[in-house]
Symmetry: C2
Subunit: 235 residues, 2 copies
Amino acid sequence: MTESNNNPLASVDIQRPIVTVDVVLVTLAGEELRLVLQERDREPEKGRPALIGGYVWPQADVDVTAAALRILKAKACLDGLFLEQLMSFSGPDRDPRGWSVSVAYLALVPQEALESAARSGAAPFHLVDPQSPPALPFDHNRIVAAAMARLRAKSAWSTLPAFLLPSSFSLPELKAIYEKVLGTPLNDSAFRRKILEMRLVEEIEARSVPTADRKRPAQLYRLARPTLTAFDRTV
Amino acid sequence: MTESNNNPLASVDIQRPIVTVDVVLVTLAGEELRLVLQERDREPEKGRPALIGGYVWPQADVDVTAAALRILKAKACLDGLFLEQLMSFSGPDRDPRGWSVSVAYLALVPQEALESAARSGAAPFHLVDPQSPPALPFDHNRIVAAAMARLRAKSAWSTLPAFLLPSSFSLPELKAIYEKVLGTPLNDSAFRRKILEMRLVEEIEARSVPTADRKRPAQLYRLARPTLTAFDRTV
DNA sequence: TTAATAGTGTCTTTTAGACAGTATATA
DNA sequence: TATATACTGTCTAAAAGACACTATTAA
């Protein structure tokens, strides 16, 4: 577990950092963006709501992303959602167990998938405002801030927000989620023009069901490509 | 060095991964972008040109970025350059020493600073084409590809390419480096309009020195803000 | 029919590109 | 003066925004 090396502390062997994964899980609850937390199931900070995370298991995981997927499935009963590596956070003090590296991920889950996970026995979810979350353990507030910045920025030039919606959605719904994530109103005809002309979505043979206050049913669409698609820019 | 846990392999304690840093160092040599490699100074792959990297030292480094800065200084005599964390690469096979996580960084260095580092005793640099580098050890080709994609994408909407230039530069030089990084010609008057109207640069009291084929001296500028500045988008 | 959202058409504004033309240096 | 690059001005094209107007549903 150690490497001999030209260490600044001379004869001391190199200690390996703790390596963990933390997932900033974001969903849409009703009309609002929500950050999904779970109570920690062990020390330190046992019982406190925190990002969904855990150790990387070299014996079990083929890479850190596999660890994130494994942890999401084990702790939140979630599978097949949008997952993107953000960056790593590290240091001697961010975790009381010692010098640690946490590889942070952004994950998006549609409301229905989260509700289904809750019903299938996941530990309870705490939904909080991701723009002003409560004080979280470790450096989780910093990780959330970085994740939300990435979500906001990337949403301006990619199909990212669509991964907060079910697989079929109307253009008014899509526009609403873009506005929610970007925090700014969008021009309706320009939005439709862009989304349709770039062929980011394709019509499906269905319309939304009208409700009391959503009178006219809307044409439903699905993403033309099931993966994240960039427009305007390329990253 | 181990954690007890609800490990899938039951009674086996968790091994900690090796944690390293790899820096994709890019410079401008003459008119061309160049990836800067150094020969590895120890096994494995001793003597082979590779990314500049090394172990994270929990005893010495306050975080992984500090490790990257320490390693750049120790191995390449480089200091004060643009450094941005890319993402982590991980897995059981990428390093023969065992399951490892490498936190990759993109670093940009002006040609003059690299030449000065070479003169001040850094181990020799190997400069190669970053778009089609030779076969590199470990998963370094993959890391280079990710770094170049980030450089290209981010250059379209930020002052990133300016960090490949000395602190003062002319607009023709700035335009040339954008074109080199983006791989596409830019409209001259539109480029000047954008850069000047957004006040990304400010005039300094100097002009470039004319040479045989650069007849008219150009006004010199410096970045209005010494840090990376985004335009159009925000990330 | 009314009300409320869905969707379209078109004019205006903004921004980027094309490109001619002027300015300033060397030789 | 010839020439090569630096720089400016202006027309055109493309994209985004504003907004009126039509369409379709429930009640």
